[in-house]
Amino acid sequence: MSYFEVNGLQVRHKTAEGIKEVLNIDHIAIEKGTTYGIVGESGQGKTVLALTILKLLQCPPGEITKGSILLDGEDILSYSQRRMQASVRGKKIAMIFQDPMSCLNPVFTVGQMLDDVIRTNRGLTGKEALAYAYKVLDLVKLVDAESTLKKYPHQLSGGQRQRIIIALALCCGAEFLIADEPTRNLDVTIQASILKLLKELQETLGITVLFIANNMSLVSAFCDRIGILHEGRIIEEGETERIIHAPEQAYTRMLVEAARLHSAPAAEAETGEELLRVEHLKKYFDVKKKNKKLSLKAVDDVSFTLNKGEVLGIVGESGCGKSTLVNTILNLYDPTAGKVYFDGKDVFSDERKNRNAFKKNVQIVFQDPYWSLNPRWLVKEIVAEPLDAYEKLRGQERLARVGQLLEMVGLSRDDAYKYPHEFSGGERQRIAIARSLASNPKLVVLDEPTSSIDVFSQAQILELLRELKEKFQLTNILISHDLGVVSQMANKIAVMYLGKIAEFGPAAEVFRNPQHPYTKALFNAIPKFEKLGMDQLTTLEGAIPSPINPPSGCAFHTRCAEACEACKSWTPEPVYLNEAHYVSCIHFTERQGENTCGKR
């Protein structure tokens, strides 16, 4: 008998359309002190499973029709709600939710929250409780515990909040931890550090972890065994090594493929003449803090050129300014300083003609196709929006062009008479792509085009984008935090950190041999199938510093493994390694001989 077992569990859901089977799990067994990963895309029943284990599923509309969940040999599914609350939730099983922003009560300080949990679960008060709180904060590696205790959740970064939630779970003394996508919405570098922490706790405290994720790569590094959840069923189960290297089901194979970093980036495209030139672009936002006027340097002195037919991938942690950079180039924000030339013409000039031509030639595909399409419009109207703005087509002519665009992105002409909510995420993104191509643009900006659609459609969308790029000789700017996507599409890469470009160069070169310490850290924070296990991941300690008051000198020196004294005062200039590849790091400057680091 295993420590934790699910047997013949069936969960149904009552909706307007009738009764739907959400979960139908024959058997899951987890041994004590091991990690088990459940992988599946959204809508496959992962979260329902977690909620069912804790008996927190809303019933109705949910309904547990049969099955048993055994913890230490006892069927907790048969427990009453009161008994669950008194002896299982928190005491034996704790849960880490996917969104650390919304599951900490904003009106309490961290200290108050910890004190509350320690008092009810450990029976400690006053000084003893405080001492215990320090101990737990130390366990989750929160530095400066004293000030953390006094802080409110909004004063903490995402990674810190997730650590607090883990600390709260530990305070209860739970031995079984359900982690429901604990690192979703966190940056890769912070992801890696949270995972490392969980692994350490699991090893030192002997905790059993059920890890739920939508992505193979994290689970592969973290878990001993993996179960693949598809349409409510476990379709494949086994040792991590086996699943990764010899998946049996087609669905599993697809998940594995999607998470693989493509070691051979897209071939160098034939590049034409210069299309876009960005010169010393700056975008500062004014912020008021305690009556002092400060500026948030979202984009700080960025320059690059992009030739016709190239795909530029912009990567970096959230808050590094990649979206602001693109929005400023697109003229959605007024620039603070700098120039952008498109086809040789100044984009920020006041001439209306220039601006209109620019808008027609530059289109964008947004991250989330659920929000980027007006839910009350027919697809026909959505796709025709750019046509109405520039071409003034009427009736049949307009309809014919819409049909043509829809067929181009792999949809049918009849789809023109549907509403966006009738399509899946992938199909919606196709609609968005059709719209972006309607005005025959030269440059299409892709803002995280695949990050909110499921893995299967992701591959198809990328294929489509590559196809269209060839067909129409488009130039692309691709923003993504997913290096896998970037490696498949881009042939130039810009790595951004705190509003500046840390490294810029040909994709193949940067992927094969990253130069800047930040690029290296970023690339190594992603689990790779070739080297399983957590030890392979590097982490960046600490959160991104605030762009309102960035660190002096090189902005990265606070987190850099190779930082030295000189980094604190010396602002690095771009150093060209070759014609197309530059790095902004002191270790590459001419001052090499003088600096005291001696690391290079």
């Binding site: 289109q363 007006n374 520039y390």
Partner: protein, 295 residues
Amino acid sequence: MNQKMKDILRPKLKELRDMIFMLRRNALTMAAVIVLILILILALLAPAIVPYPQDIADKTNLSEKFQPPSSAHLFGTDELGRDVFSRVLYGTRISLSTAVLAVALSLIIGVPLGAVAGTFGGAVDEVIMRITDIFLSFPPMLLAILLVSMLGPSLNNAILAIALAWWPWYTRIVRGQAISLKERKFIQAAETIGTPKWKIVAKHIIPNTISPVVVQASMDMGGVILTIASLSYLGLGAQAPSPEWGLMISTSRNYFPDIWWYSVFPGIAIFITVLAFNLLGDGVREILDPKTRKK
């Protein structure tokens, strides 16, 4: 029906089915819907089904005045011998149509102003919202009374006055919606596409604010009916011999409580209609806004 029409109608039908499904889970709203449908049918058929059509107007029959309810006169008769039942039934027409007109008029004023204020922001927003603040600083009833006494008492002026007192509420709702919609990606997409600003307001913003506006409007219907009745009661709305409910109650108070039927039946009519609209408003809000849905 051709295929295209079917394709357009299909999602609408599904929406309707979902709505009926939600309605059936909420007995009170369902009851309100049934009552309102009945009231609507009565209002539409009133000229054809009232037992004494000539009593709607000025006809006097003093020999039959102040008859208590009987089989000939279900709700009795009034001081001029007119059938109260016929008049109350006919009054449904007046109340419903004036309320719909008044709400529609305030929507026509309020919604575009709110959408423009929310979308453009800055000085435009300041000006529009400060004007609405001025209107909102008076109780709507008081403002309506003030406006009618300036315009002169009549039913049409009462409708106009109510619309003028009511639009700021819709402006506020729509402005709030517009501000949050402005951040949505499809608006940004429209901007990068180069769609002109007025088109963004008319085609993107306003259609997406419909849900909360419909909720507010359906909840307001009851209040507007009550306000019109109140204005008529004060002699500022409908004028004799109109069978408006408020006006009937106003006349009847001279004879109360001896001639109780003269006041009570118009009162019950107001009560049922307003209650049904309020319940409908709550129900619609629950359907459109899942957050308030009961568990």
